[in-house]
């Protein structure tokens, strides 16, 4: 076993400040890197869901005549939330793998890499809310008072979920190097079993369990409640919270069981 004794025991306050700084510095790095080399940075991060929305709108409204009212807004409401999840799932593969040399040499808290990564993705979602708002206003809908608590609460729940999922993926990818492809495939699959391009009530009743079993569908439904519907469906909020805690527990378990082997395996 390793025993590390500090020369002078640091006060608890310094430890807290240190962890705050560690997260902030890692976050700042992600941000500067993402937005520095390209002045289009912000535009790029909202472009992807917008283009997807355009594609689905063309196929399902213009060509197949789907009858969902305000279909563009419906797509946007689900797609941005989905993009947050999907981006986290794919970048999580490299939270640890992309920091090999650090992991091999420095004994900082490795979970900070995951936390910085998932917070980064959540900020990208937050800054794209004005775009969603623009679509709402276009369709004659306005922000509601309940957003004040619903939006932060939902973001926190989804952040918890992505943190747990990030820990699982980042850790597992060290041991199964081609997990990345599996993650891409599964994310893709789950996209189509989530009510994003179609409405949840179009699902035949015998398939309703999918909305509970799909770890991400409940989040999409909640965000649609915020931006498209009239309120957040409390049942799905509960489902989302359950998934979030489940992912968190799994993530902490997978991470803490294996963190000592990271330096050997990267």
């Amino acid at each position: 076993m390793n025993t590390a004794l500090p020369a002078v025991a640091p006060p608890a306050a310094r430890i807290l400040v240190y962890y705050r700084d560690l997260i902030l510095v890692l976050l700042a790095k992600e941000f500067k890197v993402r937005y520095k080399s390209t002045f289009m940075g912000y535009a790029w991060s909202v472009m992807h869901p917008l283009v997807l929305a355009m594609i689905f709108f063309t196929i399902f409204r213009v060509m197949m005549r789907f009858e969902i009212p305000d279909y563009a807004l419906y797509l946007i409401a689900g797609l941005f939330a989905w993009q947050w999840i999907a981006n986290t799932a794919s970048t999580a593969n490299f939270y640890f793998l992309g920091n090999r040399s650090l992991i091999k040499k420095v004994s900082f808290h490795r979970a900070a890499l995951v936390l910085a990564g998932v917070v980064n993705e959540s900020v990208h979602f937050a800054v794209s809310i004005p775009v969603i708002l623009g679509f709402m206003l276009y369709y004659g809908k306005t922000p509601r008072l309940d957003w004040l608590w619903v939006v932060p609460a939902l973001m926190l729940v989804q952040l918890t979920m992505t943190f747990g999922m990030g820990l699982v993926i980042a850790t597992s990818n060290l041991f199964f190097r081609d997990l990345e492809r599996l993650v891409t495939l599964v994310t893709h699959l789950l996209f189509y079993v989530s009510p994003i391009v179609y409405a949840a009530d179009k699902l035949p009743p015998e398939y309703n369990w999918i909305l509970y079993a799909n770890p991400f569908a409940s989040f999409v439904l909640c965000w649609q409640g915020v931006f498209y519907g009239t309120s957040v469906p409390m049942v799905y909020f509960g489902v989302a919270l359950t998934w979030a805690l489940g992912w968190l527990a799994l993530g902490v378990l997978v991470y803490s069981r294996n963190v000592w082997r990271f330096a050997e395996i990267v």
Binding site: M1, N2, T3, A4, L5, P6, A7, R14, V17, Y18, D21, L22, L24, V25, L26, A28, K29, K32, V33, K36, S37, S101, L102, I103, K104, K105, V106, S107, F108, F175, F176, R177, D178, L179, L182, W260, F262, A263, E264, I265
Partner: protein
Amino acid sequence: MFDDVSIRFQHVTKQYHLDSPVSGGFKNLMLHLPSQVKAIWRRQPFRALVDVSLEVHRGECLGVIGPNGAGKSTTLALIAGVLRPTSGRVETRGRICPLLELGAGFHPELNGRENIVLNGVLLGLTRREVLDRLDEIIAFSELGQFIDAPLRTYSTGMIARLGFSVAVHLNPDILLVDEVLTVGDEAFQQKCLRRMQQFRMRQATMVFVSHDLNTVAQISDRVALIEGGRLVDIGEPSRVIGSYQNRLRAA
């Protein structure tokens, strides 16, 4: 633990499993499931360190020498706390700062200043503490106006200089140096060596791994010779280095 001991190894053994059966990827695991599962039981552990006991005192500089694959880097990783011994005990006292390999912990898109802060915090300082030392670090690195340019525009030597400057200004209690002084020009190398001497005056401990036996002799108080994972010899630099050179010639 005695007050003047800064690093202590007690019967430390470190085993690795060479090539984890699943590191070949998920596809490999699935396609060759039966043989892969058998391989889990059959795989041979590799002992990178065997029953190593040693103590490094505060303010001491320990040089570590030995052939490639002898276990030198494993020793450093155990001290740094990134590896856990398979058996035995590793005790350290104080803040440890590894001198990172070229560019580790740096990001090519960030400029010199931003990289200093990033690296300093990863190595255990708060932002405030790094910022307080920022001017000193920049001055030591001699990078001049390049400090505001992105790291990708730096030469290898410049990156090494930046890395070294950060590490030596963090005032660690234990500095781990793994063969990095070979980059950078002669003048900067001399400056680094002088800086390391100052370290010892401040009662900081240093562990220095190198194949450059002259430098090891120059700055170490004691030298440890590791071969095949075993601590073969430890003691006075000229004696240990001499016996290592004799064995190399005999081989």
